[in-house]
Amino acid sequence: MNKLFEKYYNKTLANDECNKLEHQFEQDRELLGDYKAFVMMMEHIAHRPKTIAALNNLNEVHQGYKAVKPPKIKNDLKKVLIYLSIGLLIGLTVYYYVSNQTNAEIAPTNNLYAQYFKPATISLTTKGDNQSNLLNIINTNYRTKKYQEVINDFEKLEQTTLQDKRLILMLGNALIAIGNHVEGQKTLLPLKDSNQFKNEYLWYTGLSYLAEDKKDLSMLLLNQIPKSSNYFAKAQKIIAAI
């Protein structure tokens, strides 16, 4: 059977034999399994020398790094560090206790999101074409916060209409508003390079990450909002609260 497999694998099997074997594969799963194993083996031998060489190379580098141990700290210095750590720990505990008493509580990220997320106000202008009716419906539904309906109606829009950045912002906001953050973030992504809507991208995607408790990402985006933007002050407040 190996001979047959080899010919089939090398594409040197005659047409009728080839068809016969393929028919056998369809009927006999075990035979197909054997062939798959054969292919795996052939591929393994083909790439083995290159892979082994690269892995050995990597291993050498790794062993070199493993051999480097962190410098030993002298005993006296060790003691000083331990006392310092204990002092610091006590200080931090006191600070934490006092700040908890005075600052009441720090809002969790989800509360911050709820506090700040307000879908963007977007006004669509229609051109009187066949998409106009649908756009008017979407506009009304968006204004009346029927976000799920907005999302459903977007599926009916033509691809060219969907390129409109205001519509992208609207759809992204609707998705975020219903809690579909992953899709919302994906939808807003094309605004990243838009001169007009970059700040909206940073603000709403940043808020969406906040809702997902991805503080690092949220801060990364909110921090990029420029001072000149309306979102700047709010973004700074969120960053401070995080």
């Binding site: 194993a37 083996m41 591929e43 290159k50 408790d213 991805k214 990364l220």
Partner: protein, 172 residues
């Protein structure tokens, strides 16, 4: 890559239930996975390789935590902001599959006798049956062919007896 990524990875791992030294092993394992997957598929290395490698390391570390039954919220994403997280995750899963497959094939290959190993390597180098016969002191080309098929057969048997291989096939 060790010099630039290791300190960053070390900090991240220590912040996520790890210890000093874990980062080196995770980086090594991640690079091995990438080598195995990329050598075979001949894929191009992503432009932002450092961010890509950092993401792969993070998934590796998550797997380690899972195996150690540590449920932990890890801070993610800082490096992979320019790479779609879902595509990295998908690639990581495929990479893990390829690595497991590689390990099983290599392990079973090394169970073959020395002659079989040498013979199969020569076959793949493209040496003719006549050349292989001369190289391995075999009497004829037909002996080479007979031995070759016997070696492949023996390897396949070892594969099929391997428990991890059975699991891998079930996963497919």
């Amino acid at each position: 890559m060790y010099n630039t990524l290791l300190p960053k990875l070390n900090t991240w791992i220590i912040n996520n239930n790890g210890h000093n030294g874990d980062a080196k092993d995770i980086l090594q394992e991640s690079l091995s996975s990438i080598i195995i997957a990329h050598t075979k598929k001949k894929k191009t290395i992503p432009n932002n390789f450092e961010a890509y490698l950092f993401s792969i390391c993070k998934y590796k570390w998550l797997d380690h935590l899972k195996k150690r039954n540590i449920k932990n919220r890890v801070t993610f994403d800082t490096a992979s902001i320019h790479i779609s997280e879902s595509s990295i995750q998908e690639e990581y899963i495929l990479m893990e599959y390829e690595q497991k497959k590689y390990q099983i094939l290599e392990r079973t290959f090394l169970l073959l006798g020395d002659l079989c190993q040498r013979l199969l390597n020569l076959v793949k180098e493209g040496l003719s049956a006549k050349g292989i016969a001369a190289e391995l002191d075999m009497t004829s080309q037909s002996t080479v062919n007979r031995r070759k098929f016997a070696c492949m057969q023996s390897w396949r048997k070892k594969l099929q007896q391997d428990n991890e291989f059975k699991l891998l096939k079930e996963d497919e």
